[in-house]
């Protein structure tokens, strides 16, 4: 599981652009997360320029 602190999100969708499985998507004014697609690779966490994405064990 990843967690997104939406109130700090700047909606750049950088996480979605590096997500290899399409588990993240910018929909309107919010990043949507589809946990069933997530492989917990952490790419989104590494690139998030606003540091609002975290990986939960």
């Amino acid at each position: 599981m990843i967690r997104i602190r939406h109130e700090g999100c700047i909606l750049c969708a950088g996480c979605a652009s590096v997500c290899p499985t399409g588990a993240l998507e910018l929909v309107g004014n919010r990043i949507e997360y589809y946990p069933e697609k997530c492989i917990k690779c952490g790419a989104c966490v590494k690139v998030c320029p606003a540091s609002v994405v975290t990986l939960e064990k």
Binding site: I10, L11, A13, G42, K46, V47, C48, P49
Partner: protein, 403 residues
């Protein structure tokens, strides 16, 4: 299904709007859909655009879309040594107001007869007997809808979800992206120069930029390698551009007193373009195809160039059912022209990112403004020879540039 349009363009940024403008003015029935509520918003960009880069477009950018004329660049080494590159009295580019620019470019397409719908998200491709025949979309708060067209163009930008569904390798590897953060700041008094600060402490595998804007404003941003792992981000290592940018600003004599008007950021592509841009009934243009400058991550000019090229080929392909073969001319031409430039810039990026701060200082001490002009024009041999004369150990690293 019955086609509603000749072509559906996904994304109303510079690539999509340029494609739509040319296709519509040539008589094609064009629909542009954009998932955003408003074309051009939010801005995820440093907003710089070179003058030469849009010369082929045959359009004049209106004053309201230009924030400031740029006369050149000031490039600063880790030790503070700077080189100013400028063509005296000449405008070499602009810093745009992207919100205004993107909307204007989209309006041009509408003026030529294209239809544009905002707040419409492409969900998936429609296929009939395996052949793409339209796009399934969702309008916010409304039911899903199917729109038919024999040609679909992905101008989706970084995310490129539909291009991925069409089979293109649109996922970005961490090594091939920069993660960026930027403030719009005021006041900042400037001399109409773009400023770039290099150094592995300031911005590892990247740089800090100051792009001046009108009314004493500036875009102050940073881009660093997306694969960097020197920071602890909530228990896992990752790059933290905001932290580094805040440090830069705190140490900058003018900016440390300035206010912020906007926070934005994003992830930019600095790797190689896709190997292919067309399939049967499908084209990819602009950043969706990773058609981005690998040095600065700029995509506007390349997007517009590809949009125009792709639209010209699409027009000819109309009578041939938009098969891959009939669209391939776009891919071939792009690789021959823009693709070659991008490949050279990628070599340069990969050479520069290996340099230590000491190497960077040496280079800045060895070269002049004229050498920088050559490098900007893509001629590396002379400047590289000078640099290597004083530090032969750099030969191996930089030799790829001159071959």
């Amino acid at each position: 299904m019955k086609p509603d349009y000749d072509v559906i363009v996904i994304g109303g940024g510079p690539a999509g709007s340029t494609f739509a403008r040319y296709a519509a003015q040539s008589g094609m029935d064009v629909l542009v859909i954009d998932k955003r509520k408003e074309i051009g918003v939010p801005v995820r960009c440093g907003e710089g655009l070179g003058l030469r880069e849009v010369a082929a477009q045959d359009i004049e950018i209106p004053k309201r879309a230009i924030s400031t004329d740029i006369y050149g660049a000031r490039v600063v080494a880790p030790n503070g040594k700077e080189i100013v590159w400028k063509e005296e009295g000449l405008t070499t580019g602009w810093v745009l107001e992207r919100k205004v620019f993107d909307k204007w470019l989209c309006e041009l397409a509408i003026d030529k007869g294209a239809e544009v719908r905002t707040y419409v998200r492409a969900l998936d491709l429609i296929r009939e007997n395996g052949k793409i025949s339209g796009v399934k979309v969702a309008r916010w708060g409304k039911d899903e809808e199917e729109i038919g067209a024999p040609l679909v163009v992905s101008a989706e930008g970084m995310e490129a979800r539909i291009a991925k569904k069409a089979g293109f390798d649109t996922v970005h590897r961490l090594y091939d992206v920069d993660t960026c953060y930027q403030y719009e700041m005021k006041p900042y008094d400037h001399q109409n120069l773009i400023e770039l600060y290099f150094g592995n402490r300031i911005a590892p595998r990247g740089y800090v930029w100051i792009f001046p804007k009108s009314d004493r404003r500036a875009n102050v941003g940073i881009g660093i390698g997306g694969n960097l792992t020197d920071w602890d981000k909530n228990g896992i290592p990752g790059a933290d551009p905001k932290k580094l940018l805040d440090e830069f600003i705190a140490n900058h004599p003018q900016l440390k007193e300035s206010s912020t008007l906007d926070d934005f950021g994003g992830v930019i592509s600095v790797g190689a373009p896709l190997n292919e841009f067309v399939r049967d009934n499908f084209m990819v243009i602009g950043t969706a195809g990773k058609q981005v400058d690998p040095i600065h991550g700029g995509g506007i000019a390349l997007a517009m160039e590809a949009g125009l090229l792709a639209a010209k080929v699409a027009l000819d392909a109309k009578g041939r059912g938009y098969t891959r073969d009939s669209l391939l001319e776009y891919e071939r031409k792009w690789k021959e022209s823009a693709g070659r430039k991008v490949a050279k810039r990628l070599l340069l990026r990969k050479a520069v990112e290996k340099l230590s701060d000491d190497d960077l200082n040496h280079i800045f001490n060895s070269i002049t403004q004229n050498d920088l002009n050559s490098v900007m024009a893509g001629n590396f041999a002379g400047p590289v020879a000078k640099v290597v004369a004083g530090r032969p150990q750099l030969l191996k690293m930089l030799s790829a540039l001159t071959s």
